[in-house]
């Protein structure tokens, strides 16, 4: 009993739970463990997975970003419009990436330099940016002129769709950034104790701006992938994304109080969210119930986190 508790509340507890859940689902839910379904599952978590990479940094440094959903929609829209206008997909993508970074940098600048609460700041930019997406598109979906744009999401490499590769690559890059670079350790230090980090020579202001700018950039990547998959720029795309992403991170053991985060945890968190949804779809459970289940999963995750930190004390 005690050793079971130890495993579940230990560092790898979540991975164990995930493996067990995966095994049970594979055995009991028909059509779950098929190549088609697994690829579909992975495809469905691409947006959450990509954005979770940088949300992890935000949360680890004791910040918060609610504007990610809007930014994904806005940058997707920009990518489509700019590609259409310039006639060049590459140029369109660059403009989208830049505008995403800009949104993030503005968030970071306001939060770090004026010391305004991240929750409030990003709540404001969430609405501003969603508004901008509606304004540039006049509230309508914008179609893509050059069919080459579809290839971003449709193309495959070794039989696996490009977006999944992109997500996997970002997992590796951000895992490395968190664990093996000064940037990652400084992020965690700021989350652990911002004042001590400042006195230890960490440039807290510029770190914050960088973290948010990076978040904006990665949202743009997700926005482009999403626009390509749904073959248009949708001003109302990705609503509520911020909550799914934050849930996935918290599920993955990222502490909302800052200072604690792990890439493997976040990946598992993203997968759990994806699997729950996928299984409910396979079992034909009504969408209304899915909200309830998602909320329950989040609650359980937070309770687990609580147990874990009180066990280690």
């Amino acid at each position: 009993m005690n050793s079971l508790k130890k495993i579940l509340l230990g560092d790898q507890g979540l991975v164990v739970i995930f493996a067990v859940a995966f095994a049970i689902v594979s055995l009991t839910v028909p059509n779950f463990l098929t190549e088609r379904n697994i690829l579909g599952l992975l495809q469905s978590v691409v947006t959450i997975g990509i954005v979770a990479c940088t949300m992890m940094f935000c949360l680890a440094s004791r910040d918060f970003d609610l504007s990610v959903g809007s930014t994904v929609a806005f940058t997707g829209m920009i990518a489509v419009i700019a590609s259409n206008m310039t006639g060049s997909i590459v140029l369109g993508l660059i403009i989208a990436l830049l505008s995403g970074t800009l949104v993030g940098a503005v968030n970071g600048f306001v939060i770090a330099c004026f010391r305004i609460n991240a929750l409030i700041t990003t709540l404001a930019t969430m609405q501003i940016v969603r508004g901008l997406a509606l304004i540039v598109s006049d509230g309508r979906a914008v179609g893509i002129n050059d069919p080459g744009f579809y290839q971003l999401a449709l193309s495959r490499f070794l039989g696996i769709p490009t977006p999944i590769w992109v997500m996997g690559a970002l997992f590796i890059v951000f895992g490395f950034l968190l664990n093996r670079t000064v940037f990652g350790k400084n992020t965690l230090a700021i989350g652990g104790n911002p004042e001590a980090a400042r006195l230890a020579g960490v440039n807290v202001v510029s770190m914050r701006i960088w973290i948010f700018a990076l978040q904006g950039l990665i949202c743009a990547v997700a926005g482009i992938m999403l626009a390509s998959r749904i073959t248009s720029g949708q001003p109302n795309a990705a609503t509520g994304l911020e909550l799914s992403v934050i849930s996935a991170c918290v599920l993955g053991g990222v502490s909302l109080a800052g200072g604690r985060a792990a890439m493997t945890g976040v990946i598992v968190g993203v997968m759990i969210m994806g699997i729950a949804e996928n299984v409910m779809n396979l079992l034909n459970i009504q969408a209304f119930y899915q909200y309830v289940v998602r909320g329950l999963i989040l609650l359980i995750a937070v309770l687990l986190d609580n147990l874990r930190s009180s066990a280690s004390r």
């Binding site: 093996r180 670079t181 000064v182 940037f183 350790k185 400084n186 965690l188 230090a189 989350g191 652990g192 104790n193 004042e195 001590a196 980090a197 400042r198 006195l199 230890a200 020579g201 960490v202 440039n203 502490s255 800052g258 200072g259 604690r260 280690s312």
Partner: protein, 501 residues
Amino acid sequence: MSYLSVQNISKSYPGVQALSDISFSVEKGAVHGLMGENGAGKSTLIRVLSGDQSADSGTISIDGIEQNYGSVRDAFDAGVIVIHQELQLVPELTVAENLWLGRFPGRGGVLDGRQLVETVRSRLQEIGVDVDPNAKVTSLSIGARQMVEIAKAVMMEARVIALDEPTSSLSSRESEILFKLIARLKAKGTVILYVSHRLEEIFHLCDSLTVLRDGRLAAHHPDIANVTRDQIIAEMVGREIGNIWGWRERSFGPVRLEVSGICGEKLPGPAEFSVRQGEILGFFGLIGAGRSELMRLVYGADTRRGGTVSIDGIEVPADNPRGAINAGLVLCPEDRKHDGIIQGRSIEENIAISSRRHMSPFGILQPGKEAALADRFIARLKVRTPSRKQDIVNLSGGNQQKVILGRWLSEQGVKVLIVDEPTRGIDVGAKSEIYDILYELAEGGMAIVVVSSELPEVMGISDRIFVMCEGRMTGEFARETFEERNILTLALPDRNAAHTV
């Protein structure tokens, strides 16, 4: 007939046996000392006593009745109150509100504000604590906060009061007030458990003593009159320590740090001083004298109103610690909980946070190098921990302090090292090791500033002493002229007024 009796208490944390089979007893109205090296288990024992942590086995009895408490609240009700090493007040509430916390007076949830404040005011006066009951705790010095905590225990009419290193953040005058208070409580029959690393205090206050070592009972002395200082040290450390200061003659180079005309929000008077290469400059003053504020301004941790700081003739940027670090100036801050430890991160990361930029090409970490650095300082400063991966919050107070010191002692390219209360909460053995490191660094040409409220320490290790009082520099002494009385005189506010008029 013993009043408080502790029997066969054991307690373990993952990877650490913090207490094994501890038994001792204390008479009614006695002050009982608890000593031991950092990590020996003193705070753990007190936490068990206060119901904050439950023991794995063993029993506690008060007045012959076996206690069976599961929470701090239960211990409260049994009359046991603990004043912890890390203070436990609610910073955003006022002094009066803190003192009443948990049992506010008034009927049906409506507070009687006047009664709240007036009772506290008269109680504080009664015990000689000079704090405004309406002041927010955030606005108080650490010393004043400590006094408030003690006042709280007195107000609760505790039968057993445990004090965990109470004087580590008190000025000598505040300590005197505390000692008087303890004498009064003792006369009332209260049992006092007193943890301290200061032998003088233990001899001054305690009737009996327990020494812990690595979680075990090293010695129990029912009557302190039968023990000597050296005996206690030997029981704690397991070896003899001769002269803990170990000061040695050094030669000085040209002026390294030059500070002139510094002033800031909390330090009105402009301050000036300079330190030479290889010199250790001590800053003495009572708590609240403005020493830490001055050092924070020098370091750029707070915003300066004016003045300059230069190292080897080159000016140091005024407004951020990072600039100072790059210029070779580092500060190990006073308040380790707020400004020092990075909670939730390992010992290794806490040590390497600043120096890792020198060993991380292109910002990519070299885990091997960081591990080696951490292990070196863990060994040298004798940090008691199962591994360098241990979360720093799981260390004992003194061991946390060692880690934060390690952070700055391991930094490379340092020309000026400022340490603010470096040995607060550190045991005798590790203290002398730290002084030794300071001497080594000074011999290498570093200019060192040591801020301390312990006069013996300042006199023991400094080459020169500056005295501060109420935000102004009031005196300077060269080593040949160190004289306890003269230094103290200049540190006391009232006498000073007479001097300057």
